[in-house]
């Protein structure tokens, strides 16, 4: 990465493609779940890379490059959310939910509905909780890395993640209510039976 950065700073713009290839999907997915709209997520991803390019000279190696780029990404997303809130835009369309292989059509529909409901609850979380939830469960960052990205203590990361999940558990009781004969994940969600490998 050091070599790539040096090349970009020396004027080799093509070398920047390496950084884009490596982080494009991660930043896009983070932005997608933070901002909700596909178009916004694409714009935010582009904005993040432009900022990275412009500020590359200021990157210091004390921080990991991924931490630095995630910091720019989360700030960009949070700025956009603030702007969206100001403009009071209507949100909620433009989602596509991933399906897992080997499911029957009924299960796919049901799983997607459940995922949509869960995503709806994630969207309703306060920004400071949602960002931590995404950095941990989607981006696979450790508590320490999240603390570095958000410039907060590791303890604060733990507390916020715990509160985020407590809120989700409170709001999503339908996912594992005692009244149900079987929990959803064991009946109709084969994709949930096995914990997926850490992303990236």
């Amino acid at each position: 990465m050091k070599n790539i950065i040096a090349q970009v700073l020396a004027g080799n713009t093509e070398a920047f493609a390496y950084i884009v290839n490596r982080y494009e999907a991660r930043i896009y997915n983070l932005a997608l779940r933070m901002l909700r709209h596909r178009a916004d997520a694409q714009d935010a991803t582009q904005e993040v890379f432009i900022k990275v390019f412009r500020q590359l000279a200021h990157y210091r190696e004390e921080a990991q490059f991924s931490t630095w780029i995630y910091r720019i990404a989360t700030n960009t997303c949070l700025d956009r959310i603030r702007k969206q809130k100001r403009e009071q835009r209507q949100v909620g369309d433009g989602f596509v939910f991933p399906g897992s292989g080997g499911e029957t059509p009924d299960c796919i529909v049901e799983n997607r509905q459940l995922e949509e409901m869960l995503l709806e609850e994630i969207r309703a979380l306060p920004d400071k909780y949602r960002v931590i939830l995404l950095l941990y469960h989607q981006q696979g960052l450790s508590y320490k890395e999240i603390a570095d990205v958000l410039n907060i203590s590791v303890q604060a990361v733990g507390t916020r993640l715990h509160r985020a999940k407590a809120l989700l558990k409170k709001r999503c009781k339908w996912l594992w209510s005692e009244e149900e004969a079987e929990p959803h994940d064991s009946v109709c969600m084969p994709g949930y039976a096995k914990k997926p490998d850490r992303l990236y």
């Binding site: 896009y28 900022k51 939910f97 995404l134 469960h137 949930y192 997926p196």
Partner: protein, 190 residues
């Protein structure tokens, strides 16, 4: 006692499952879980939520064309030269600009600068007296005028001190370098 243990376990459950606890606390919670069915159930709920979260938040590939769009904008940025300067570049620019401004002031001649400043002060003073005639905030402008005269006087007395040029140069240099950083940070909020 038991309730206290459960409360502590519940509080640290997320970090416990995520393997982010210190060893002693992790061992303590493990022991508690062996004897508390209620907390065991909470662990299962938490793990189920984790699986559901990871499935719902599973990443999808970036849209086609996004990479090209990003690289096109980067090429545009590079062509326009819109890249933040490194600290070294900032220092060189600030140094050059400070020297340039110092020479400009010397060339303009200090007293000429004061008289220009005093003229501006005189303008403010005249404006103040005219406004006070009309009774619209003239007092404020008049006091500004007095303050302006005082400031010009202070600058003039400092300028007459030995090494004033060097002090002026250093202040200018710091102002330009700090101003650049302030603009950069306020623009990008990283």
């Amino acid at each position: 006692m038991i309730r206290f243990a459960c409360r502590d376990t519940q509080k640290n459950l997320t970090a416990y499952i995520n393997g982010e606890l210190e060893r002693p606390l992790e061992e303590w919670i493990s022991r508690h879980l062996q004897e508390c069915p209620r907390c065991q159930a909470s662990v299962q709920t938490e793990k189920r939520l984790n699986r559901q979260l990871e499935s719902a938040l599973a990443p999808e590939p970036a849209p086609e064309g996004l990479r090209e769009r990003i690289m096109a904008s980067i090429a545009q940025e590079a062509r326009a030269g819109r890249r933040d300067m490194s600290w070294g570049e900032v220092m060189i620019c600030a140094l050059s600009l400070s020297l340039l401004l110092c020479f400009a002031v010397i060339w303009l001649d200090g007293p000429a600068v004061y008289s220009t400043l005093a003229e501006w002060g005189g303008f403010v003073s005249r404006l103040g007296s005219r406004l006070s005639e009309w009774e619209i905030g003239g007092g404020v402008v008049a006091s500004l005028s007095v303050q302006w005269d005082n400031t010009v006087g202070t600058v003039q007395s400092v300028w007459n001190q030995p090494d004033a040029g060097m002090v002026f140069f250093i202040l200018l240099f710091c102002f330009i370098a700090a101003g650049y950083q302030w603009l950069r940070l306020s623009k990008w909020t990283t």
